[in-house]
């Protein structure tokens, strides 16, 4: 699938994925801010304050009714972490004009881009600040969200392990912020964050869908306007990548909670490669714990019946593999022993059969092929790859997957070391 790249200057780029295979189109615009506690708090509140009103649509109800008039225009304003950066993102999904019912005079795409422009250039702000009421209201919602993290024990345990493993780096900061940092947010600081993003932060835009001439004109006008707002201004630096602290001995942390089941999260460091595009880590992770036929699933769950789930995920920005399992404390050590045993087995390439290696690669290649069947997935992936500074040529990536050998996988397993063992012990009162 060909992706056309267009540069607008001022750190504004557009990727175009042109396809007429779908009934809906997608557009995403993201800004990279330094990942600091203050930015996390302000961006989190900003994402929701923007939805409360614009100069043209001054209440949430007016906004929602406007989006409905554009056939339920889907608008997602959020923040994510990509690599070490805090990414502030606006993503819109909308039906193609070809599927607007006959007789309805609605230009959905133009309406969608006009709305994005309202959000960025004409938010509901006066004298350099957002409404005090809206800001305080969204601060409260954000604080509620922080307090509610404990409701989902799986996610809570994962975050706690992450905080410990990434201590001292920007990745240790809670993605929702903290009660203190969100409480310190003001209508002026939120508005200032928006102006900073619009005026100083690198911006990656992606369009996926039926890219007609009229759509091209609308997008070029919008993105040129955005680029012009940065003319002569210095662009914000990217967040500096900081290596994680290496522990000589596994750091073990146990916390207790009233719950029926414990949650275990293990953070392992893996060998770093100078080549960030190397796909050996992806293949290793899939074999280790990334699928229902992985070593962890078939052994810790199926053979030993220790848990319902035991899986792994790879995080290349921090060179880690993270294992997660819902497990009772009496089975914790047995599970860790088996996980370590499987790592040991994988350290020898003779323990990785050709069939296992090939079916793993097929699974990964299949997921890349399947990506082109979902425009939002493709948009999200492309945006992430651009922020990582990695190759977006899917065929080239697939070749790299095919080139991975069992020796490559074994090298990673051999260099994998448990750094943090976190357990959220579930004990009912």
């Amino acid at each position: 699938m060909e992706i056309k790249q267009v540069e607008f200057g001022g750190g504004v780029s557009l990727g175009v994925i042109n396809t007429d295979k779908f009934k809906n189109n997608w557009f995403s615009l993201s800004f990279a801010l330094p990942r600091t506690p203050e930015n996390i708090a302000n961006v989190g509140v900003l994402a929701n304050v923007l939805k409360r009103g614009t100069q043209k649509h001054r209440t949430m109800k007016e906004i929602e009714r406007y989006l409905c008039s554009l056939y339920d225009l889907s608008v997602d304003i959020t923040d994510v972490t990509v690599d070490y950066d805090l990414i502030f993102k606006i993503q819109v999904g909308f039906i193609d004009d070809a599927f607007v019912p006959l007789g309805e005079r609605v230009n959905v795409f133009e309406g969608a881009i006009e709305f994005v422009k309202e959000l960025l250039f004409e938010p509901l702000a006066e004298n350099g600040e957002f409404s005090k009421d809206y800001t305080e209201s969204e601060k409260k919602h954000r604080i509620d969200k922080i307090k509610a993290e404990i409701n989902n024990k799986d996610v809570y345990a994962f975050k706690r392990c992450n905080e410990i493993a990434c201590e001292g780096t920007p990745l240790a900061y809670n993605g929702n912020g903290t009660i203190d940092t969100v409480s310190a947010v003001t209508p002026k600081s939120v508005y200032g964050t928006l102006q900073y993003a619009v005026g100083h932060c690198r911006a990656e835009a992606v369009f996926a869908g039926n890219y007609t001439e009229s759509k091209e004109e609308v997008l070029k006008e919008f993105l040129s306007t955005l680029a012009a707002k940065r003319e002569g201004k210095a662009l914000s630096p990217r967040t500096e990548r900081v290596s994680l602290k290496a522990f000589d001995k596994t750091k073990e942390v146990t916390e207790q909670i009233d719950a029926k089941q414990g949650r275990m999260v293990l953070s392992f460091s893996i060998p770093k490669s100078d080549d960030r595009a190397d796909m050996s880590v992806a293949v290793f992770n899939e074999i280790f714990g990334g699928s229902p036929v992985s070593r962890l699933f078939t052994n810790v769950r199926e053979r030993l019946s220790l848990c319902y789930y035991c899986s792994s995920m790879a995080e290349k920005s921090t060179w880690r593999v993270i294992v997660r399992s819902g497990i009772d404390i009496e089975n914790r050590q047995k599970a860790i022993d088996e996980i370590s045993r499987q790592l040991g087995l994988l350290s020898n390439p003779e323990n990785i059969s050709d069939e296992e290696l090939e079916s793993t690669k097929i699974s990964i290649l299949s997921s890349y092929d399947a990506m082109s069947d979902s425009l939002p997935n493709l948009v999200s992936w492309y945006m992430r790859m651009r922020w990582y500074g990695l190759d977006t040529d899917i065929e080239a990536i697939k070749e790299r997957v095919r080139a991975v050998t069992s020796a490559d996988v074994a090298d990673i397993a051999r260099g994998t070391k448990m750094q943090v063992s976190y357990f959220l012990d579930g004990k009912e009162e």
Binding site: M60, I150, I257, D258
Partner: protein
């Protein structure tokens, strides 16, 4: 009766579906799309709701959670292996799920579709239940049950079911309880399989760049052209009166969570589109109720939905609130006002527009299309008619539904309150 094939078309949304009625009674639906990946479901009209049934005149009661347990065991092969491995060898991503009224086995893949499809069909028609494999699974599913019990949203939902219904099995978690699954045996699994996994109670739904003739060829190899007697489903009428106005308990949550339910036993496949439009017109983020409770900071994490399936039909709204009682009061006031003044015409038009957009959105995903076909099979509807079904809903119909549904006796609430102390011990 021989196998019958028909082509169903919808010119406006530009889709075409092949509908095959196999000689065995099995339904096969195929929508061809030029996607790289294909998605296939082989499902049955059988879920956690069906724990009392009649087979050959014999009344049978089985432990709760057996439909889900059976689903887990279907992946086991005769030699003690796992069908997941067979799917993995060809790069297919397989899964399964059980809900109150259905069980589905599915996969998606970008290559070797027919090989994966054959694996799926063979797996579903060849159950292997043994004493040993049942005992092993009890440990795994017990862990799954505990995991689900730790999810507040799970507890909130099942308490809502208890508030709505006195006896309906939807009150019991789909996976059952640790106690109920300990009573499951291989013999009982076979009883349930033979009762509900009859071809005339099942459907295959496929979306992707596939050939329906080849799909039929594979089905013919594994499914005999013999029809069995049809499964009997009892259709007991239910009262509109709820079981309890309020079900509440304490849980490990930071703030009260609530779900308000409106019992609607009059729900049918014929009026389900109208019911969805009614709820959208009253409770979407475009409407007064939501803007009132959000801007007064009464609710966060808001959701609203209409649930229609064979076991149950109800409306719901939910969220987090420091004062669920105040939300419930506002809800009742809003309901009374709607009954008195009617549903707003503009809100009705907005709801129809959103419903139409949802349908168009779903047609971009092979998984949504295959699931949509399966859903339509379960309610005996034509999937390609769905856009027109929403368009055909009239304002008068929605007004009538509002008058029936929005009465006090049908309202109930489930609430989870935080425990008095911090959920993290030692803080």
């Amino acid at each position: 009766m021989g196998t019958k094939t028909e082509i169903v078309r919808n010119a406006f949304i530009g889709e075409e579906m092949t509908k095959i009625t196999h000689a065995s009674g099995l339904m096969i639906y195929v929508i061809k799309k030029e996607f790289k990946s294909a998605y296939a479901i082989f499902g049955t009209r059988y879920g956690s709701f069906d724990n009392e049934f009649v087979v050959d005149g014999e009344n049978i009661t089985v432990p709760h959670g057996i439909a889900h347990f059976l689903e887990h065991k279907m992946f086991e092969t005769e030699d003690g292996g796992d069908t997941f491995e067979q799917f993995a060898e060809i790069g297919a991503d397989a899964n399964a799920y059980t809900s109150t009224d259905r069980t589905a086995y599915l996969f998606s893949c970008t290559e070797d579709f027919y090989k994966a499809f054959e694996t799926l069909v063979n797996m579903v028609v060849t159950p292997v239940f043994t004493k040993e494999n049942v005992e092993k699974e009890q440990g795994i599913i017990a862990q799954e049950i505990k995991m689900c019990e730790d999810r507040p949203s799970n507890t909130l939902h099942y308490n809502l079911m208890k508030a709505l219904y006195e006896k309906n099995p939807v009150r019991i978690p789909i996976a059952g309880t640790v106690e109920s699954i300990s009573e499951i045996t291989a013999e009982l699994l076979y009883k349930c399989y033979n009762a509900f996994y009859r071809m005339n109670n099942m459907a295959i739904c496929v979306c992707g760049d596939v050939d329906s003739d080849k799909i039929l060829e594979i089905v013919d190899r594994y499914v005999p052209s013999v029809s069995e007697s049809e499964v009997e489903f009892s259709d007991e009428a239910d009262s509109p009166r709820v079981n309890a106005a309020l079900v509440s308990e304490e849980a490990e949550v930071s703030k009260p969570m609530f779900r308000i339910g409106v019992k609607f036993p009059e729900g049918t496949s014929e009026n389900s589109c109208a019911c969805e439009i009614l709820w959208e017109a009253l409770f979407s983020s475009c409407e007064d109720f939501f803007s009132d409770i959000y801007e007064s900071e009464l609710v966060s994490g808001y959701r609203y939905y209409y649930e229609y399936s064979r076991p149950c039909s109800y409306f719901a709204i939910g969220g987090d609130s420091d004062s669920p009682e105040a939300v419930f009061k506002k809800f009742k006031e809003y309901a009374a006002k709607t009954v008195a003044n009617g549903v707003s015409k503009e809100a009705f038009e907005r709801a129809k527009r959103n419903a139409y957009a949802d349908v168009i959105r779903d047609f971009d995903y092979s998984e949504e299309i295959a699931e949509g076909m399966f859903e339509s099979f379960l309610v005996n509807e034509n999937y390609l008619d769905i856009a027109e079904s929403y368009q055909a809903v009239s304002y008068d119909e929605v007004q009538e539904l509002a008058k029936i549904a929005l009465s006090d006796e049908r309202f109930c609430m489930s609430v989870l309150y935080p425990r008095a102390k911090s959920p993290l011990k030692g803080e």
